[in-house]
Symmetry: C2
Subunit: 327 residues, 2 copies
Amino acid sequence: MNERQIETPIEIGLAAAIVAVEGDTPQILVARSEGGDDGLPYGSFDPLSHRTLEIALRAFVADQSGLSLGYVEQLYTFADRGRHARPNDGAPHVVSIGYLALTRVALKTDELPKSASFQPWYRFFPWEDWRGGRPSIVDREILPRLNAWAADTEGEKAEARLRPLSRVERLRFCFGTDSGPWDEEKVLDRYELLYEAGLVFEAGRDGRSGAIDAASARRFGEPMLHDHRRILATAMGRLRAKLKYRPVVFELMPPSFTLTALQRTVEAISGRHLHKQNFRRLVETTALVEPTGSRTTTRGRPAALFRFRRDVLQERPAPGLRVGKRG
Amino acid sequence: MNERQIETPIEIGLAAAIVAVEGDTPQILVARSEGGDDGLPYGSFDPLSHRTLEIALRAFVADQSGLSLGYVEQLYTFADRGRHARPNDGAPHVVSIGYLALTRVALKTDELPKSASFQPWYRFFPWEDWRGGRPSIVDREILPRLNAWAADTEGEKAEARLRPLSRVERLRFCFGTDSGPWDEEKVLDRYELLYEAGLVFEAGRDGRSGAIDAASARRFGEPMLHDHRRILATAMGRLRAKLKYRPVVFELMPPSFTLTALQRTVEAISGRHLHKQNFRRLVETTALVEPTGSRTTTRGRPAALFRFRRDVLQERPAPGLRVGKRG
DNA sequence: GTAATAGTGTCTTTCAGACAGTATGAC
DNA sequence: GTCATACTGTCTGAAAGACACTATTAC
């Protein structure tokens, strides 16, 4: 039942969504190509040089950007034909493996090579930031067009075999229409819906029928090369989910921080506003942090500084900040 | 910042953990090699024949076993050197992508090719079945040896750079020693711990120093070829986790079923006993099922039959059976 | 004093976990 | 009736979600 054969040259590509948070802006390391297009840092995997995928990833990131990554997590492997290259161009087939990585240094932008920079991730996903309430782009731009798309029953029929849900159902699932809830973890589902509806730039670039013109598409977030925006969407959703059951936020925080700064960071990532009191209680009851003893001196009342309690890693089964509907 | 090069021929292998539940036994499709060793169904990916990885997976499974898969989910991509082949044998480097698949038919064993069969998954992980209370193998075989391993501070030092947790800490984390909780989702962590401690057969086979002899190692579950048991551990952990927030159990159930049968299936997978009343309330409040109207005729009081309510897919944000400590 | 930010105290609702019971069939 | 399995009613305590209030600094 085991068989093996080689037919097409295959290349393994590694793409990394490297996240840092500065103040209340989550940032993503973006590599700009010669053509001026944005993409994720990308490198190919050579099994002779590196023993594992993760080692290779850390190496090429350090090599290209000088960043030493902390937390690294594999996301997903894509091998869809037609990715990257045009069909029949004789190029090797690319299988790309997406990674999420967290780092503390978003600041030293001047130490990065010229082609690389940290960019606010909501530039690529403007509809994902609900900290200031329901974003106007959802109601003004997205939902009207998606509703029109969902009303196209002809197009729907064509995809019926592949999709268990109807267009209206998917719309409700992704965007919580009809007063349904907004689930901030469904970043990838929403991006894919917008892609299929032809609203994002990449849909037109990939030659999808029904795609809107490139200029209008720019309103639906900055595009990225290849499927890098899709990988970023996967990373955002994964990070938003992971926050709740693993203490990964602390990978993004400095060694000591105020509780407000911690809350701002969680809010920045999850794209939602949290209740201050509930958040503090949550942090307290989970015993994820301990006071350092010192305090800040900013304007207003000075805040106590805290540090992450590494002990929780062994104490509790699944420590994280289980922020609920509004925290 | 983007670069590309090809140096070593690379082969993409797909390995599938195909799960079915029969009564209260979770089963896994096992392919037996000519040598009589167990492994997962395995095929290689040819980008010319198949457009996506998932399509290729479905095709080779259908081809080899005749099974048509329902739910399919990608797990993880491994590319560790030294996997599969001996070093320097000139063979292509193998990157293998693990998949979890669920299917309803565990029964038609006679239609499977001779080399394939469904096997109870607890044969490979005897310490993971806690339905009858704490398994004796944990206390009698595993913990004594792991405690001895954790007491070896010399060995510990060698791995200190790689591992943030000490051996004792990892032991507590994985097995909930010191009256800590048992987390049924940590299947992979436990397997990797046993591997590193040299207790499982694969550790000796891979030439790990400190591994116990092959005969004793058989007590720690049946081994599998390559890293297939590791992939199976990943699949089990993922499925146990997924049960709680997505309605995946129903992929394993017949079209109509009793609530008791549903509970047995959940228990079989999660390896824990659940409270009947709480389980029923859970199912009721989540509105995941609806009565079909008919009832069973077994001995004892006849049970009402239910079917999965497909509507929940669009109604609630993350429907699943959030079974808690004891359900 | 005012502006600004930090940090409680406590109420209500929901829901997980557990108790012990009653119902309906085959024999 | 007995045996076996299906099903339910309700208590308890722990959190989630929300309310409004007090505290400490700079100016």
